[in-house]
């Protein structure tokens, strides 16, 4: 079994286990407001970090790619205009693709 398969199955097991734990553990275990707040905030911190890291870095180095930055900017504009999820993605990818096709970035 390859390492990627192990990662896939471990992630699946972990994610499923977290769901099952919620249905199974007594209510009071996670009743603490701090724990609830932490679980609410974790995705925000991680997804913001993932978005930034994938936009401006490559491996260990900062890598400012104009097309990628423009694509993410287009996503921000779409979000400010309250566009639906799919449209946000299309705006981002389309902007980056168009700039690259035009040879601008």
């Amino acid at each position: 079994m390859t390492a990627a398969w192990i990662a896939v199955l471990a992630t699946a097991a972990g994610c499923y286990g977290l769901k099952l734990a919620g249905l199974t553990v007594p209510q009071r275990v996670l009743a603490s407001p701090r724990v609830r707040r932490f679980a609410e905030l974790v995705p925000i911190a991680l997804l913001a970090a993932l978005s930034a890291v994938q936009t401006v870095t490559s491996g260990h180095a900062f890598d400012l790619d104009a097309a990628r930055l423009a694509g993410l900017s287009a996503a921000v504009v779409a979000l400010l205009l309250r566009a639906p999820f799919l449209l946000v993605i299309v705006a981002a990818a389309g902007t980056a693709a168009a700039l690259r096709a035009a040879g601008i970035a």
Partner: protein, 205 residues
């Protein structure tokens, strides 16, 4: 990530943000361990959804094992919006099967399709992940100051650690921003689940 791996992850984990995170790390050649840890951390909110759903659905025995697979943002929102336990169970089951089928078919289509196009960059696919992650948290960022501070701190921590730590690890450390946020403002009210749009629902609509 192969087509089979993408589909297995989608079928078994069935939670969008974690799938995107692991796929991103594998695609960029990052540490698999770090990718797995951040993907699992991202699934932690489903535990809270499970707690809320357990009160309403009261699944027992083997049924609980299947119910657990369907504990995600959308099923929780739909179930908790119902007036009584019976409708909540119906809403959960209907939402789950509907999303489970469309989500996994979309994963299959995407995984097969991605292998047939040329350079992912020429289609701007390298910006899909960042845009999707931002869109996922956008409603929360609008919702509160603590949320915005946690996001900014998470970005700062991750970017600051990029030159120093193995690829993937800086993102995990960003979770400490959430810890700080939770300790600083534990009393913030939990907003209505139904008011919170999420990735998979809108992605398949």
């Amino acid at each position: 990530m192969s087509v089979w791996q993408a589909c297995a992850l989608s079928l078994l984990a069935f939670t969008g943000a974690s799938q995107f995170a692991l796929a991103g790390v594998i695609a960029s050649g990052g540490s698999l361990l770090a990718g797995t840890v951040s993907a699992i951390l991202l699934g932690s909110r489903n535990t809270l959804y499970g707690l809320r759903l357990a009160e309403v659905l009261r699944p027992r025995g083997a049924r609980r094992l299947l119910t657990a697979l369907g504990v995600i943002d959308e099923t929780t929102a739909m179930s908790l919006a119902q007036p009584d336990a019976g409708s909540a169970r119906t809403a959960f089951t209907a939402t789950f099967w509907c999303l489970y089928l469309t989500w996994n078919l979309a994963t299959l289509a995407g995984a097969v399709g991605a292998g047939r196009i040329g350079s992912p960059q020429s289609f701007g696919l390298d910006v899909v992940g960042p845009a999707a992650f931002l869109a996922l948290i956008w409603p929360r960022l609008r919702g509160g100051r603590t949320e915005r501070l946690v996001a900014v701190a998470g970005v700062a921590i991750a970017l600051g650690m990029i030159p120093l730590l193995p690829v993937g690890v800086p993102v995990i450390l960003a979770a400490t921003a959430a810890l700080g946020g939770a300790l600083a403002s534990p009393g913030a009210p939990t907003r209505s689940l139904a008011a919170k749009p999420t990735a998979s629902s809108e992605a398949v609509q």
